[in-house]
């Protein structure tokens, strides 16, 4: 696998995944990975995986990032939707959706947040109303990552308007190109449309694209949220590779005053790796995802802020030729404490549910 990656990983960084040419290039890369049966190594063989145990998946991730592998354009699908389909979907859904997902024939976007339901996800107001053979979607989603170029999306919709908060929600998948769907890309810091607003005005979703029972969406979604907050989206590989690059940058810079921060960042990346391995030996507690999210989001910022400080005046430069891509990585890392449940929400979860402090 290491040789395959060395031989096939792009020598130069691909264009941003959130651009038309980058979208095409990253889909092409996923097809190449699929050809080597490396796009979803932990999946069952029947869906194009290798039935790899989690430990092998962690090693794959380390090798992938050490080889400088590109961002996984399919990560919303691979790491968020797929576990939900394995846990709550039907065999028909898995057969129909997973192979296309692995090949990036379908690129998936998330559709969780709404303008008034950010940290407070249970405040969702977008609704799905019953129609013949399915549902019609109305409302607005926002901060939908990758939606500018994606094909399909998944999220929660209110199917029982009288139920309160997290009751009466249903987990649905829908086509971003369908009638009644308008996608408005949102340009983020750095200029790329990393996420989008989705306006829904009667878009049709067949019953076959409901995951789990109608009204049971919160429970289904929380299993996905667990995945988002947990290991799968943030495997240690990416941080380990960044930590190694940081040490190299520091050695070349000779800035002894930053030695302590470099060492701490490298140690933290090791801690995250070992924590991941330990979780394979013994299943972690129910809120390990919250602890982990706090740790990796701060680790990612520490890695990138230290690198920028080492780069001196070149730290403000975009791209990889003068600043090694650290600035672009920093802009991405800045979002870490915000998405997938803000760090403030996560700290409260840890305090209330892990430490048992009074609510």
């Amino acid at each position: 696998m290491r040789e395959w990656l060395a031989a096939n990983a792009p020598a130069a960084p691909l264009p941003s995944v959130d651009s038309a040419e980058g979208d095409a290039a990253h889909r092409e890369w996923e097809r190449l990975l699929t050809g080597a049966r490396l796009s979803a190594v932990s999946w069952p063989v029947e869906y194009g995986g290798r039935d790899a145990p989690p430990m092998h998946w962690l090693v794959f991730e380390e090798e992938y990032h050490a080889a400088g592998g590109p961002v996984r354009i399919g990560q919303n699908g691979l790491f968020l939707l797929a576990p939900t389909l394995f846990g709550h979907g039907t065999a028909e859904q898995r057969d129909r959706l997973l192979p296309r997902m692995a090949r990036a024939d379908d690129v998936w976007a998330q559709a969780w947040s709404e303008p008034d339901a950010g940290s407070d996800l249970a405040a969702i107001r977008s609704r799905a109303t019953r129609t013949d053979g399915g549902w019609l979607l109305y409302g607005q989603k926002t901060w939908s990552s990758r939606a500018a170029y994606a094909d399909r999306a998944f999220g929660l919709f209110r199917t029982d308007p009288d139920a309160e908060r997290h009751r009466g929600l249903t987990y649905l998948m829908f086509d971003l190109r369908a009638e009644g769907v308008t996608v408005r890309p949102i340009r983020q810091l750095g200029g790329a449309p990393g996420f989008a607003e989705i306006f829904l005005d009667g878009a049709f979703v067949p019953d076959a694209d409901v995951i789990g029972a109608p009204g049971d969406g919160w429970r289904v979604a929380m299993s996905t949220a667990g995945h988002e907050r947990g290991l799968s989206l943030r495997s240690p590989g990416r941080f380990l590779a960044a930590a190694e690059r940081l040490v190299d940058l520091w050695r070349d810079s000779g800035d002894s005053a930053l030695a302590g921060r470099v060492a701490d960042a490298w140690i933290a990346a090791q801690a995250y790796k070992m924590h991941g391995y330990a979780a394979l030996e013994r299943p972690p507690g129910p809120h390990a995802g919250s602890l982990g999210k706090l740790f990796w989001s701060e680790l990612d910022l520490a890695l990138h802020e230290t690198a920028l400080d080492l780069l001196g005046p070149h730290a403000e430069v975009r791209g990889s030729s003068r600043s090694g891509g650290w600035l672009d990585g920093y802009l991405f890392a800045l979002a870490g404490p915000i998405y997938a449940g803000t760090n403030e929400i996560q700290r409260t979860i840890v305090a209330d549910r892990v430490l048992g402090l009074p609510r």
């Binding site: 940290s119 407070d120 983020q188 996420f195 800035d255 400080d309 005046p313 730290a315 600035l327 915000i338």
Partner: protein
């Protein structure tokens, strides 16, 4: 020592604030980033009418010969509004350098700078390997040591000396501290363009054109210190803007049935921002009084830290919307990130503070 603003200075700041509030700076910034400097230059002309571009120009060349404290007041407002354009260069460093060079160079450009006819930019590696907005500026200067413009040392510290691979920034290799050569000043020839995190900072490499001076280390050093002081003020203004924005947003944004500003986590994060800004300001004013390298460096470090803390907290308070290009916060976030790296990094300035405290040689002397 004068560590607070006079009533007159406070009025000057308020005037500039109103002027910039009335101008559509966000639109000018979008245009500037897209290569259209016309709306931005219009704002700069209004600032020139208010005297901003003449502050650091001696009276004999049509300037106001104002105190550095006045300069700090103006620069804080430019940062407060995240105005596009080569602010530190036009308002502080280049007029100071030209005035120090005197003679033909001063005669040739200072009146135009004072009147606002021309903006100015400067490259001075290693602190400033790139000249910002060299495509728009009427005056582009390069200050460097002759041997390749790569070894101009901003600090007496071995750290900074060993760190910077020079203006080309390509290799990252450790370079030994070269023997001192005299610092020259040239008219800059615009070279390769480089993209900044702040899209309104259009960076360019400069090559040496017409030589203006062949031994101007002292003048260049003092000009860079004035620029670093202006940069500190700009950072403080940007930090203040982000705190104000975050406070307003926290009052309005409702989650879990109440304004998020009622949550203690939000309150305490913003209180820490307020503390950082409150205690950076007196260092800035003190540096404007003394202009010593140590005090300038202390001000740059403190203002950069306070602005950085403000940026992190403001982004966290806003959540995803703060991360969008559309919402205004990004103009300050990216400006702060860029200016933390320009005019000497915090590592450079910390090293210089320690060097002066432990009686090592003064830089630029």
């Amino acid at each position: 020592m004068k560590l607070t603003l006079s009533d007159e200075q406070a009025r000057f700041g308020a005037t500039l604030h109103d002027l910039l509030d009335a101008a559509d700076v966000p639109a000018a910034s979008r245009a500037w980033a897209a290569g259209d400097a016309v709306p931005g230059c219009a704002v700069w002309r209004r600032l020139a009418d208010a005297g901003v571009t003449a502050l650091a120009v001696p009276e004999k060349w049509g300037g106001l010969e104002a105190s550095p404290a006045d300069l700090v007041v103006a620069c804080e407002e430019l940062g407060h509004h995240a105005l596009p354009g080569p602010a530190m260069e036009t308002v502080a460093a280049v007029p100071a350098l030209l005035a120090a060079l005197g003679g033909a160079a001063a005669e040739r450009w200072l009146p135009a700078l004072a009147s606002g006819e021309a903006l100015a930019t400067l490259a001075a590696p290693p602190w400033l390997p790139y000249a910002v907005d060299a495509d728009t500026a009427g005056v582009s200067l390069l200050a460097a040591r002759p041997a390749g413009a790569a070894d101009l040392l901003a600090s007496g510290s071995p750290t900074a000396a060993a760190r910077l691979p020079g203006a080309t920034g390509a290799t990252g290799a450790i370079v030994a501290r070269p023997a001192r050569a005299a610092v020259g000043v040239w008219v800059g020839v615009v070279g390769e363009a480089v993209a900044s995190v702040d899209p309104t900072r259009r960076l360019f490499e400069l090559g040496p054109g017409e030589m203006l001076a062949d031994d101007a280390g002292g003048a260049v050093g003092r000009a860079l210190d004035l620029g670093a002081l202006a940069c500190a003020a700009h950072l403080l203004g940007a930090g203040r803007a982000m705190l104000e924005t975050a406070v307003e947003y926290a009052k309005q944004r409702v989650q879990f049935g109440q304004p998020i500003g009622r949550f203690q986590a939000i309150k305490h994060a913003l209180a820490d921002v307020a503390v950082g800004l409150e205690f950076a300001r007196p260092l800035l004013y003190a540096a404007a009084v003394t202009l010593t390298p140590r005090d300038v460096s202390a001000a740059k470090v403190a203002c950069a830290s306070a602005a950085h803390r403000a940026a992190r907290a403001a982004l966290q308070v806003h959540g995803a919307i703060g991360y969008t290009e559309e919402y205004g916060l990004g103009r300050w976030l990216t400006r702060v990130r860029a200016l933390m790296a320009a005019w000497g990094t915090s590592s450079d300035h910390r090293a210089r503070v320690l060097a002066t405290l432990t009686a090592q040689a003064e830089p630029w002397s």
